[in-house]
């Protein structure tokens, strides 16, 4: 279990990461606000507590791997990587600009710390399965984490990957689903219902853990449970799209809309960054 102090520290980290994300998106006036904010608590726990990695040595072979299968949440990933020290924080201001190493969607050939190229939904988990298989073949002690969107579960390839994770008994693979209930065209339940999510993964024989995706302690426990599982694990994380600043919360509109000047000001105030 995480100490109370560690929980508070991670909560503060997540708040600061939210500020980085919103500033970055405001600057570029393009990119995905809602899904970055719903995922950031999960990613804060991963990057600053759970995962074994070293920014000074991005190629360290025993590092844990993180795959952002919902690649449009790239701002959240870039905020974490910059904070961890993979590249200077000033770079965040170049998001999506011509010539920037911070592409609209994660690019392993351009950004230090990015493990695979994602952005076309449904493809990241298969690559995570491949990374876990490579770790096994090479005898590396390294775990693989893959973060998926709930809308992304509509891609058939996700279930092909889940089947293979179970088949190969990839106990070092941990999937997290950011269950914010929204996608672009509206509520996931209205567009193309993916539920019941936990039961589906259970039917594929994964170790299913449910968690509150914005509760650091709940996430810490979920990752701890996944770590000792002898089967591939999936954390079904209940989240709120746009979490952290109420104007963005649970609104399909902010899926791909960057904050305006005014919205940024409100956000900075709410997040205690003014």
């Amino acid at each position: 279990m995480l100490s109370e102090q560690k929980v508070q520290e991670l909560e503060q980290t997540a708040r600061e990461l939210r500020v980085d994300i919103l500033k970055m998106l405001h600057r570029s006036q393009s990119g995905h606000t809602g899904g970055s904010l719903s995922a950031i608590d999960i990613m804060a726990v991963l990057f600053f507590h759970q995962m074994k990695h070293d920014a000074t040595c991005p190629d360290w072979s025993e590092r844990d791997r993180f795959v952002l299968s919902k690649g449009h949440a790239a701002p959240a990933l870039y905020a974490c990587l910059a904070r961890a020290g993979y590249f200077p924080k000033e770079d965040l201001a170049t998001l999506r600009q011509l010539g920037s190493h911070l592409q609209g969607h994660p690019d392993m050939r351009k950004t230090p710390g990015v493990e695979v190229c994602t952005g076309s939904l449904g493809q990241g988990l298969s690559q995570a399965v491949g990374l876990a298989l490579a770790n096994r073949v090479a005898g590396r002690r390294s775990r693989v984490f893959a973060l998926l969107g709930d809308g992304e579960l509509q891609e058939g390839q996700i279930w092909e990957a889940v089947m293979s994770a179970a088949h190969y008994q990839l106990s070092d693979l941990c999937i997290v689903v950011d269950c914010n209930g929204l996608q672009i065209d509206g509520f996931t339940a209205d567009v193309m219902n993916v539920g019941p999510v936990a039961a589906k993964f259970a039917a594929f024989n994964l170790h299913v853990i449910e968690a509150d995706g914005h509760d650091i302690d709940s996430l810490g426990q979920a990752f701890a449970s996944a770590e000792v599982s002898d089967r591939p694990a999936v954390i079904v994380a209940r989240t709120v799209k746009g979490k952290g600043v109420s104007i963005f919360e649970n609104k399909a509109k902010y899926h791909g809309l960057a904050p305006s000047d005014e919205e940024l000001q409100v956000s900075l105030q709410v997040l205690g960054a003014l």
Binding site: R96, Q103, G119, L121, G151, D185
Partner: protein
Amino acid sequence: MIATRDAYGKALLELGRQNPKIVALDADLSGSTKTAQFGKEFPERFFNAGIAEANMVGMAAGLAAGGMIPFASTFAVFAAGRAFEQIRQSLAYPRMNVKVVATHGGITVGEDGGSHQSIEDLAIMRSLPNMTVLCPADGPETAAAIRAAAAFEGPVYIRLGRGKVPVVFTEDCSFEIGRGVTLREGKDVTLIGTGLMTAMALQAAEELAGKGIDARVLHLGSIKPLDEELVLKAARETGAIVTAEEHSVIGGLGGAVCEALAEGCPTPVERIGMRDVFGQSGPAEKLLEYYGLTADKLVEAAERVLQRKIR
């Protein structure tokens, strides 16, 4: 200036009002592809597959087999890329009456970056037997192309863009599958455009005129079937060709024109397009500049090809 995807949204709605067999499908991008307007007016004829492009194409095939005229939309990368084999097996092979209308073709997708910028879809789709491939220049021509596709029996791939583009055609223009259009007469060199590059070809011809070079401009909104007759005539009469497309120089307009010329009338060609590279993030205008998809580059290419002209 109007985005071709906006013209599509309107044209589809109009068709829907006229013909109850018109149905639309999307894959969680209906706001961007503009099928949402159709979905709002005809909810019983609109099917959102969710983020599942392969299934969307399969459902469209089934709807067509059941007598409907489905228009299935998503971004070009996901249509021609993700659902390629479904398009091959379920649409092209059985000659199914489905119209795949792919928006966000090319690099003018902009900030989303290379993962979302389709530079290969025309080549992929053109390689399929039975497939018709269209790439209109502007809003009015898009509306006409959508109507032509609906009236045509068989699978059609229509490539549209994200951003607003200059208007080249009149509101009442017509679209004939397999026919190109001569937009400007000329005898020294022929500039052939498709999609948004046609407007730039016209601009380039204007600049060339200032330099005393008389350039013909063709627009090929039908990439397949290609208007070979028009292309070969231009080759015979002007002896030099420049192609321009917001697509790889491999396999799209440039490829198709070169194939026609190689067999029918070998002629020096310069191809403007993506030089076998993927795109990247950036504002659309800057990307066009960066990858050399501009009227200025067309002018330079025309001057180069004139040097190579066999006199």
